[in-house]
Symmetry: C2
């Protein structure tokens, strides 16, 4: 019910928009086509982006995600440019220009044993730094301390740095959702995404808690239908059941399932020491499920088509 209301608000907003600069795109939207139709699929198509976050954070994350890409079951991922293993995943990106790699724009450094700072020179972005000189531990600290100006400079620097490493990002999203914390930050993300002709992670479901969203979105912005993301209340025993139920219940439209892949090894246990949520065992469980034959079978049985952000960018923005 709530969802229907937001869709109505969103569609209304689309019609109200007066900026027709991206004519073709807008025409498709104003014709009230669904996103799956605009992408060339049937209205009842169930499209799924299986997206692994946090590339670059640790070798364990890179290695497990690359392995999952090879399975063909994980279609997409995004890279944390300020992190120490950026050169490792950049080398993969250069060797696999077909890979669907976006940027996981990073304004937080959430672990306590492994940390990172900004891409920008520290004295140019003092509002992004916690007292120890790293990025803030939490998205709320980052959002409340950082100035929009410095955030914009930093995310532009992350995009530029990724390109200088030979990464051609296909999409943008925000690590820990820092850029979705308030309207100003969301506007900053959308502005930078538009300038770079990149789709960014925005879901219709978010309209419920971010009432400003319809008014700041442009008809050219891609809005997917929903996001699935496992939460800490799901026990390890229920991991497979949670994902299985979600996939069986998948509705027509474009869904992104956000996962976190790594091995439960010394490095990840060390990194996530004080933090079982999104920790090493969690990520190993995600890896197990999303590279399994059971997942492949579920996709087949439920007629789910895996897509990528690259496909979205190609079809809607004419990207490569």
């Amino acid at each position: 019910m709530i969802r229907m209301t937001f869709i109505a608000v969103f569609v209304g907003t689309l019609f109200a928009v007066t900026n027709f600069s991206l004519g073709k795109n807008l025409e498709a939207q104003t014709a009230n086509k669904t996103l799956q139709e605009r992408l060339g699929y049937a209205a009842d198509a169930k499209l799924l982006i299986v997206h692994a976050d946090d590339l670059g954070m640790a070798r364990s994350v890179n290695a497990a995600t690359i392995k999952a890409f090879e399975s063909g079951l994980v279609t997409s991922g995004s890279i944390m440019v300020p992190c120490p293993w950026l050169p490792d995943i950049a080398a993969y990106a250069r060797k696999h220009p077909e890979a669907d790699l976006g940027l996981h724009l990073t304004l937080t450094s959430e672990w306590t044993s492994l940390r990172w700072g900004p891409v920008m020179s520290k004295d140019q972005v003092p509002s992004l730094l916690d007292p120890s000189g790293y990025l803030y531990l939490t998205e709320s600290e980052a959002a409340s301390h950082a100035t929009a100006k410095e955030i914009e400079a930093e995310i532009r620097a992350q995009i530029e740095r990724a390109r200088s490493f030979g990464i051609q990002p296909t999409h943008l999203d925000s690590h820990m959702g820092t850029l979705y914390q308030n309207e100003t930050l969301f506007r900053t993300l959308l502005k930078v995404a538009r300038e770079n002709k990149l789709p960014s992670r925005v879901s219709k479901e978010w309209f419920a808690t971010r009432t400003y969203l319809p008014s700041i979105l442009d008809p050219s912005d891609v809005v997917i239908d929903r996001i699935i993301s496992i939460e800490p209340q799901v026990t390890a025993e229920n991991w497979t059941k949670f994902y299985t139920d979600e996939i069986k219940g998948l509705q027509p439209g474009v869904t992104e399932i956000i996962i976190h892949l790594a091995y439960d090894d010394e490095e990840m246990r060390g990194a996530t020491l004080d933090h079982p949520n999104w920790g090493a065992a969690w990520r190993q469980r995600d890896f197990q499920f999303f590279t399994s034959d059971a997942f492949r079978k579920l996709l087949d049985e439920n007629h789910i088509k895996l897509i990528t952000w690259r496909e979205v960018g190609q079809k809607l923005y004419g990207n490569r």
Copy 2:
């Protein structure tokens, strides 16, 4: 033979020095006592510091080194402050104030998949950065591009940052020997070490290739007798034999054996991908040997006493 010459030059220099500010210390040295005697041991004492480099670089390094510290057979280590796992080893340092932890002053970032930048704000130390914005890959590039002024600022910042994390360094040394590359850099290291009342890694054997050394050393500077460090020409099969022979042949005086500990795991294999020298398997071999009963037995049989840099600093500088 060569070694005797350098000792003679060194002793001569000591007598020529006119700065008597550190009276007690100097008195001991001018009385021509050996370092082991100044530390309160017999002239024929065989003293050994077993020193693990590169703490902070990776979780694998931290975990293996901490495990080796627990064996009691590895006495000392040094921390790379700009590296991503600094907070992890700093937490260990705070919990183990007795640990002999120095700083492995870092001006290079030598791997290609895992990299780091300076502690200072990047725009304040542009001469330390390679074109990708990390520290240089090699010690020779760092030494030839970096200005002494920026190096001094950076190493001071590394010491200050370590202290802000609750690390009370017991000694200083230089990652990849960048600070031993030329006289100017060596002077910088000695200046900063003296101001911090910290012994730094200087060996009599180095006088052979660094003829300026006697003239820049002060009687208060600690100079150990020799350094043992395994080199790439030693095959994996000869690893144990190399160390065994070195330990059996250990001469009276103070020797530091420099080792590199880590596990041969996904993280270290990823980090050292293109670089078998000082790579993952190398470090696992070091770990195996230096935590073995065979090593413990060799120390006993050859009447070798393990010491620490902390002990050196306590006895010669009155440090805690």
